[in-house]
């Protein structure tokens, strides 16, 4: 797999993350995942694996909590 998925706490945070990534030149798409979290449905952002470090840095900078579902 050439993609990585970062999961966020809610759709709002997933949208925030995707918009931040896009603004910073990272191709990203929102995905809904029911298998990623014990709690049930959650949202994630799918990006290229090669963009993962930049993406994580962007989220840290923005203070957005995340976890890696598929790195």
């Amino acid at each position: 797999m050439n993609s990585a998925i970062i999961t966020l706490g809610s759709l709002t945070y997933a949208t925030k993350a995707r918009r931040l990534f896009t603004k910073n030149g990272i191709d990203a798409r929102t995905v809904k995942l029911s298998e990623a979290a014990d709690g049930g449905c959650t949202h994630g952002i799918e990006i290229k694996k090669s963009d993962l470090y930049s993406a994580v840095a962007i989220l840290r900078e923005a203070g957005v909590q995340y976890s890696l579902y598929r790195g």
Partner: protein, 370 residues
């Protein structure tokens, strides 16, 4: 006969053209259920909703768009804030010019928990009016910052300062303020701000906001689906989903976003200047009419009575000339008691930036005939 709409404090009309264009585009082309799926329409709706959060955050100068929660209107917002903040017996401070949108949920928690309330005199600066009311069990200030009857505006900086000095959280009803005047939540980070979307922000009915400057914790008013954390029987702790149970009103929110964009492009200080100019003009014209008693003028609102005629009768007669104004008590019982108009109410003409001098002339001409 030309219709002259002067009831913008109830809801603005007309809405700016970009609001109508985007509303139409939303309903026709992308209005899926945001947050429930990952297909293109669901994600397009989610994106527009997030964009609206960003626009409202820009209007209020806060850095966290996710602290903007959408509601149906200001009443819904105030119910979320008041019932979410008060869940035990305590003492609360409010003003003497409140709308029933605030009075009734506050009365509900009074009945439920034995909460007691003191009202500060809105004619006195908050820094002087509020401290003498504080008791050991005072836990909250919840107040309007602009009257929907007299146009009176409370000094928000003074209110914020006194709340912080007293260590009391502050919930404000900004129904007649947000979109008319600058609300800078970086400078005055009120804990919770409640406002409608369909008044000064030019959204359609069905839109409103609860804005959190920080992470002021509120119990939930309504519980239900949030599109995430499915197996948790409680609402998520994260804003905004915590206070947005069920499907949100995407078209209303999108219209609100375009309304806010319109205001940002117009410029909030230009909005304030335009309303001030039109209000002064209307005040001047009405003052020239014998038999017209001016009760209050400011912030786009001009309230008056004609001789001792019941206000609803005057509003009805003005309606026959195509003038849309509101008579009665404006859901603000304490304000009318304060004005001594609890029997006949008042005629309220309320302006938006889309009104013109010609509209004020039309009101003046019609009043001359009464």
């Amino acid at each position: 006969m030309r219709t002259v709409y002067l009831d913008n404090a109830a809801t603005t009309f007309p809405k700016p053209a970009p609001v109508l264009r985007e509303l139409n585009r939303c309903v026709r082309t992308y209005c899926g259920n945001p947050g429930r799926s990952s297909h293109s329409l669901s994600l397009a709706s989610a994106d527009k909703i997030y964009e609206t959060r960003e626009l409202v955050a820009r209007l209020c100068n806060i850095s966290a768009p996710e602290h903007i929660c959408f509601t149906q209107n200001a009443t819904h917002a105030l119910n979320i804030a008041i019932k979410g903040a008060i869940n035990h017996k305590c003492h609360v401070i409010t003003s003497d010019i409140e709308h029933n949108a605030l009075i009734r949920p506050l009365s509900a928690v009074c009945r439920r928990y034995g909460v007691t309330v003191s009202r500060f005199d809105s004619d006195i600066p908050p820094e002087k009016a509020i401290p003498p009311l504080v008791r050991p069990d005072t836990e909250l200030i919840v107040t309007t910052v602009a009257s929907n009857v007299t146009g009176k505006v409370i000094d928000t900086e003074g209110l914020y300062r006194v709340g912080r000095e007293l260590g009391l959280p502050i919930i404000i009803d900004a129904s007649q303020y947000l979109g008319h005047k600058e609300l800078n939540l970086e400078r005055t980070p009120f804990d919770v701000v409640c406002a409608p979307g369909h008044k000064a922000l030019f959204g359609i009915a069905g839109s409103g906001v609860v804005i959190f400057s920080g992470l002021f914790a509120l119990d939930t008013l309504i519980e239900g689906g949030s599109g995430s954390d499915t197996y948790n029987t409680e609402m998520p702790a994260l804003l905004p989903e915590r206070h947005e149970a069920g499907t949100v009103a995407t078209p209303a929110i999108v219209s609100l976003g375009e309304g806010v964009r319109y205001i940002l492009e117009y410029g909030i200080s230009e909005v304030e200047q335009r309303l001030s100019y039109l209000t002064e003009l209307a005040k001047e014209r009405l003052n020239a009419l014998s038999g017209v008693q001016l009760l209050g003028a400011g912030n786009g609102i001009i309230s008056f009575n004609v001789r001792d005629l019941p206000s609803d009768r005057v509003a009805g007669t003005l309606g026959e000339y195509g003038i849309c104004v509101r008579g009665g008590l404006h859901c603000a019982p304490d304000t009318h008691k304060k004005l001594g108009t609890e029997k006949i109410g008042a005629v309220r003409a309320s302006l938006s930036i889309l009104n013109t001098e010609r509209d004020i002339d039309a009101l003046f001409s019609a009043l001359k005939k009464i």
